[in-house]
């Protein structure tokens, strides 16, 4: 009995702790947006500079890595499915398969993981070092709200970069897939593109924007939050950076899972499988 109560207690604490964390992160989103909108004294030109730097580091500089990853993933997925589809005579299903696997599932998750590894860590350690080096206090002393100067531009630049990278990833992965089909089966380009275009539904655009937009927001909000959680000492920076990676991955995976689950439940409802 005691053991059961202890487990319930520990589960309750775990749940409360995570809810509190989520609430704090969401509060930071609200405060940074509010500060960016209502701070009349701020220099938008300075903030735009931070946004463009973020897009450059997160979006532009990640292109080579995303290109290699997308070509590889697109090629591998086609390699795996072509054998089975050819056996079953379902080659025309290649488009549906690629849209589901690349655009809906693998794309958002892989792009998010790359951005967490490259930029989430960079932002968490940069903001953490700024805190340890008293740069955040210095900004405040100059009347510059760190929420509108540090957090808001990074989150906005991050969202834009993740959406753009995901779009690029999808295009390159589909090209990678086509190169493999050309190599294996000499599939005509018209057949390949036609199969893909037919497989796209208007929900795909919604899923694309939801998954990638919110993944970008989650990564950069969590990374900024962990960076700002550094109190004074530089030794906290690597600890907070690790937490930023772990929490970002957990939040992104849970969010992607929820969107996919809701989407497929809706599809099942439309098909009349569930009421």
């Amino acid at each position: 009995m005691t053991s059961l109560l202890a487990r319930v207690d520990s589960l309750g604490r775990f749940f409360t702790k995570n809810m509190e964390y989520t609430f704090r992160v969401l509060l930071m989103v609200y405060v940074s947006i509010r500060a960016a909108i209502f701070d009349k004294a701020q220099g938008f030109r300075q903030i735009f500079g931070v946004i463009s730097a973020q897009i450059y580091f997160t979006g532009w500089q990640a292109l080579p890595l995303i290109t290699v990853l997308a070509l590889g993933v697109g090629g591998l997925l086609v390699l795996q499915c072509m054998a089975n589809l050819s056996l079953l005579g379902g080659t025309q299903m290649i488009g549906s398969f690629l849209v589901v696997m690349i655009c809906r599932e693998a794309g958002p998750l892989l792009v998010a993981l790359v951005v967490i590894a490259r930029s989430g860590t960079a932002v968490a350690s940069e903001v953490g070092n700024m805190r340890a080096n008293r740069e955040i206090e210095a900004l405040e002393s100059m009347g510059i709200n760190p929420m509108s100067f540090i957090v808001f531009p990074r989150v906005l630049g991050g969202i834009f970069s993740v959406v753009a990278l995901a779009f690029y990833f999808n295009v390159i992965a589909l090209i990678g897939g086509f190169l493999i089909t050309r190599f294996m089966q000499d599939m005509p380009l018209a057949f390949y593109t036609d199969s893909i275009v037919r497989a796209f539904a208007k929900e795909d655009l919604l899923i694309f924007l939801l998954k990638n937009g919110f993944s970008g927001m989650i990564i950069f909000v969590v990374s900024c939050y962990q960076g700002l959680s550094v109190k004074r000492s530089p030794h906290e920076v690597p600890q907070q950076t690790t937490l930023a990676v772990v929490n970002s991955i957990i939040f992104v995976v849970i969010f992607n899972l929820m969107v996919s689950a809701l989407f497929y439940l809706n599809e099942l409802r439309n098909l009349g499988v569930i009421s």
Partner: protein
Amino acid sequence: MKIESLKFEGVSFTHDGQDPIVQNVDFDFPTKEVLWVKAEEGAGKSSLLQILAGLQIPQSGKYMINGENILDMSFEEFLPYRLQIGYSFDYGGLINNRTLHDNLMLPLLYHKMVSPEEARTRVDGLLKEFGIEKFAQERPAHVPGRVRKLTCLLRPLVMRPQVLLLDDPSVGLGQDSIYTFVDHINKHRKEGCFNHIFISSYDEKFMNHFEYQIIHLDDGQLYFQAVDPEKRVVHL
């Protein structure tokens, strides 16, 4: 916004798990003076200056500027006061991913206090006056400590605030820089800037360049300390 008075009413502030820095303090800070904040090592001079700058929020009490409790204000409401309060850290505080020039330009451009041309003229003039113009396009990590410290001191000066809070300003500066700095302060005081100056320092030689009043922070309380009328004052 003109700052006429600075006052503590029942202010208490403690860092977690430490002795109180100030405890239920009522204090009317003299204005239009250079105030030398003295205390034992670790008694909380820096924290006191940070409270005065609005960077630390006391656990209780009121910090009144011009009769208004600024502790009740939001960031935006406090901003007009904040822009009249310049604060210089004892160490750190420069934005590391910006050059020294950009560090000095940032507050002026962000708040559009002056035109970009005027800001550039002001910053270039200041860098030249202190002889560090050759480091202007370097980042803080790439310059000697003396230049870094000097840039830290110059950043609040570019805004020409009414209240100037300097935490250990003379540490790490050469004698020439100190003379230039004191000269700059005195020149601008005559022109109506830096009306109320608070300096925490152990450097009596540096402080003797000013006509100062002393406030002593001891055991969580603030006291006026009599100043020796024979103290040496150097007018540059």
